[in-house]
Amino acid sequence: MKVLVPVKRVVDYNIKPRVAADGSGVETQGVKMSMNPFDEIALEEALRLREKGQADEVVAVSIGPQVAQDVLRTAMAMGADRAILIQTDAEIEPRVVSSLLKAVVEKEQPGLVSMGKQAIDDDMNATGQMLAARLGWPQGTFASKVEIADGKVEVAREVDGGTETVSLTLPAVITADLRLNEPRYASLPNIMKARKKPLETIEAASLGVDLTPRLKIVSVAEPPERKAGVIVETVDELVEKLKTEAKVI
């Protein structure tokens, strides 16, 4: 079975994002970019399935500008066998991403798509569900445990108030939650080897998908700042202030 792993290039999670002065978005020029952390977890899970003999090939795919090649090289350094870049300079939303991924799935015919539950830039949490819908495949979102047996995948899902377990007939889409696994680091020899692994580039425009967004960003602004607080010295002072000043207890 082949596993397809979509990965997104995003502003590194350690960087505090800065809103562009013209309110058009968040500054990304000259900012450190990395693979979306949830995608690393999804990739790690695919690699583990391969190591258990349940998958025979792991293919990473990213959609974006030419520079998104760097996250695909990272994916191959972690262990993906090959990579596909769907190249576009357009700003694309999950609706478009899921359409483009559907075209890749139809070409590659994977038995499983393993992806992150959300990207830490747009915080949408939608692409996996949308892709599953477009393919008519079942979905296992917010996965914290994945077990494959007899043409099915059993997925433990992180839900409000507990864990729900579902069984899905393959092929299926799963989206990784934080607790699914601890992604490995790419070693230096593997980073070198990844340079020689195949990376195919496909023009997004050639896939016959309309890239026009339905959700227009009107403006992006800083959230309102909180007023600076005070430091209290004793517990009694804290309780007193919560009672009489803040009136919350």
């Binding site: 899921s98 599953a132 917010f142 227009k216 430091i231």
Partner: protein
């Protein structure tokens, strides 16, 4: 215009988060509620401000595949389809959007007009105002941003619907519920949360519970505390956990990473207790106390 809201039931009541979604939906016009599963029709019909309840008892576990298929059949009669930004809403609504080739709008915190909405991006470090050109607008609502409608006062008629034929590709196996007598995190008036500074799971109980008991508070945790096994993951507050906005949020032994702040910085009053005076949590705290939480928390429980 009429909006459809997918609602959820918990312990026989309509979840507060669903009632917030109904409040948001009422900005668009009349509101119908969609209820999946056997329980809750009576509670749903009493909700304030709804026109009718569409009840689908056959969809017991609200699996995304049949639920989205059902919604796709109903969506044509509505201008907006909403749910709480709960795990269930986030599972089902984007799948519906995939079926309708629409772009869903996640975690809406403000509604400007019928097609213009505000939502946080980058873990709440920026607020995006977005405009949808979809014919049916599909969105999830951040419950802490909208005051919920009342649990009773209404008497909406209940219309029972059949479930769509299942394709057999997904099935429910079990739900492992976590047990807690405390208020639900997302609706608690007071939340006290702990981070890695609590050092282990037993301290989580012995230090936080006495304070929580005195205040009737829910207990939360940072991602680091959850990852270290100090607390179960449904207690996680943050970008990848629950988003809360209580009257009072007491953060103890946690630094205030961006990921955590995204889940609590809209709380009305924030108290930080931390041994490190440089911890970022002090930048958002209304009241800060620098010191050892192993001394401060027992003293606080005593003083309350």
């Amino acid at each position: 215009m009429t909006a459809l809201v997918l609602i959820e039931i918990e312990n026989g009541k309509v979840r507060q988060a669903s009632r917030s979604a109904i409040a948001a939906a009422s900005r668009f016009g009349e509101v119908d509620a969609l209820l999946l599963g056997e329980a809750g029709a009576e509670a749903a019909s009493k909700l304030a401000g709804i026109r009718k309840v569409l009840h689908v008892p056959a969809l017991k576990h609200a699996l995304a595949e049949p639920a989205a298929a059902l919604l796709a059949g109903l969506a044509g009669s509505y201008s907006h389809v909403l749910s709480a930004a709960s795990s269930s809403g986030k599972n089902i609504l984007p799948r519906l959007a995939g079926l309708l080739d629409a772009q869903p709008i996640s975690d809406v915190i403000a509604i400007q007009d019928e097609s213009t909405f505000v939502r946080p991006i980058y873990a709440g470090n920026a607020l995006a105002t977005v405009q949808s050109s979809d014919s049916v607008k599909i969105m999830t609502i951040r419950s802490s941003s909208f005051d919920p409608v009342a649990e009773d006062g209404g008497s909406a008629p209940v219309e029972v619907l059949d479930a769509p034929a299942e394709d057999g590709k997904s099935s429910f196996i079990r739900l492992d519920q976590s047990q807690s007598d405390r208020p639900e995190l997302e609706v608690a008036r007071v939340v006290i949360s702990g981070g890695k500074g609590l050092k282990d799971a037993s301290n989580f109980h012995t230090l936080l519970e006495p304070v929580a008991d005195k205040l009737g508070a829910a207990i939360g945790a940072s991602r680091a505390a959850v990852d270290s096994g100090f607390a179960p993951n449904e207690m996680q507050v943050g970008q990848t956990g629950k988003v809360v906005a209580p009257e009072l949020y007491i953060a103890t032994g946690l630094s205030g990473a961006i990921q955590h702040l995204a889940g609590m910085k809209d709380s009305r009053v924030i108290v930080a207790i931390n041994i490190d005076p440089e911890a970022p949590i002090f930048k958002v705290a209304d009241y800060g106390m620098v010191g050892d939480l192993f001394e401060i928390l027992p003293a606080l429980a005593k003083a309350l």
